[in-house]
Symmetry: C2
Subunit: 266 residues, 2 copies
Amino acid sequence: MDNRPIGVFDSGVGGLTAVRRMHEIMPNESIIYFGDTGRVPYGTRSAQTILHYTRQDVAFLRSFDIKAIVVACGTVSSVALNAVSKEQNIPMIGVVEPASLAAMEKTKNGRIGVIGTASTIKSGSYESFLHEHKPELKIFTKACPLFVPLVENGRVNKGDIVIETVVKEYLTELKEQDIDTLILGCTHFPLLKEVIADFMGENVELIDSGAAAADYAKRILTLSDNENAGTKYFVSDDPDSFKALSHIFLNGEIAENVGNVEIATY
Amino acid sequence: MDNRPIGVFDSGVGGLTAVRRMHEIMPNESIIYFGDTGRVPYGTRSAQTILHYTRQDVAFLRSFDIKAIVVACGTVSSVALNAVSKEQNIPMIGVVEPASLAAMEKTKNGRIGVIGTASTIKSGSYESFLHEHKPELKIFTKACPLFVPLVENGRVNKGDIVIETVVKEYLTELKEQDIDTLILGCTHFPLLKEVIADFMGENVELIDSGAAAADYAKRILTLSDNENAGTKYFVSDDPDSFKALSHIFLNGEIAENVGNVEIATY
């Protein structure tokens, strides 16, 4: 048993899709969550800036006695995790490996699509991992830069012509490639599951990368038996806005116990 | 004559719509521009965070011997300018006053619309100024949170159902109020002028707040007679992405001479 908390971070609220899964499958784990809401989004920034911000996010989480870090952000996992995990002496679990492994298990025709932020897709992180493990896979990727702002503005429902038009525009070329598995490589994207599933059709399996990271963490970490485990949240902007948005990502649950952090000082 | 440069800043690239106007009407002015591309957008953040970022932006510009600051950002002008200008001993010109004065001149029926980011509209900055000067004006405001990401993704053209749908959604209630003047209270919004004008109809005058601030600066500042004046640009993220996006805002001109700043250290 290891009752130390698990640190989780994201550029903002998206990583709560991983926390939600952790609450479901590892209810005895204490969690320290950091959302960098004062500097969100990361997915449109340069690799150098993402690396700089990631080091600060990790330094903040390490100010607690945590046993591991779940990087619940597709962009950080793709752009900065390799470098930063080498600097740390606890496990750091990103979304790329777990989501890729899940996709490799699911695919039957070996044709996998990957969507993410501009930085994630530019990094080639998913292709690298997938091809290293199964060179014969065919990978098709597409940056979807408008998905994050659309999700954050609540444009997630079927019948909304704005999100439906953007989904169609971004995903048509993946659909035409006859993929049977689609990795949602950004932790905001599970909120678009219904619209995306509707467009891609029932034969395409969607992989929720935040949930995959949570499943992976459960498999590899020494778990806790703390029956009073809870989650503490920290953000770099106003805690109240974070609370107000959290229930969308936490399936109705509201993030209580939210503190503010001056992240640039870490 | 005062040949010292004018400092200009914005959360990102939007403020270039003011620079463009300054180049047109004050070609002898040297300009130091700062775009906080590492922390853009501001318009969705809390007042406290916007104030904190603004103080750093101003401190960076004050590291040069400048004669004035143009705050080419609707959000900063609305949320932080009053507090920060009191701390400075040079003029700070925001967009709210100039755009409001221009709207007061243009309106015939006394019904003025104002659109901006969520923070700008929440601040009530335009209503306060307009009502202080002309209490009989009827002001109608609307937050347009998706306009900034849509502009930054190039969704600015007529015939694009995404931008047309969002414009219609945000502006229908202003149109129904029979306004004859609409303040584009965010320096990104002039790029949507064509789509907005098309929806609002030819009887509604659009006020470009960045251009209004430039006009105002020309009126109140002691100008320069430097015939070799130029503009230096600084950003807090990758200079190359800024260069690549700049021509959209600078009417084809490309921002050369772009440096990087570690803004959190100011």
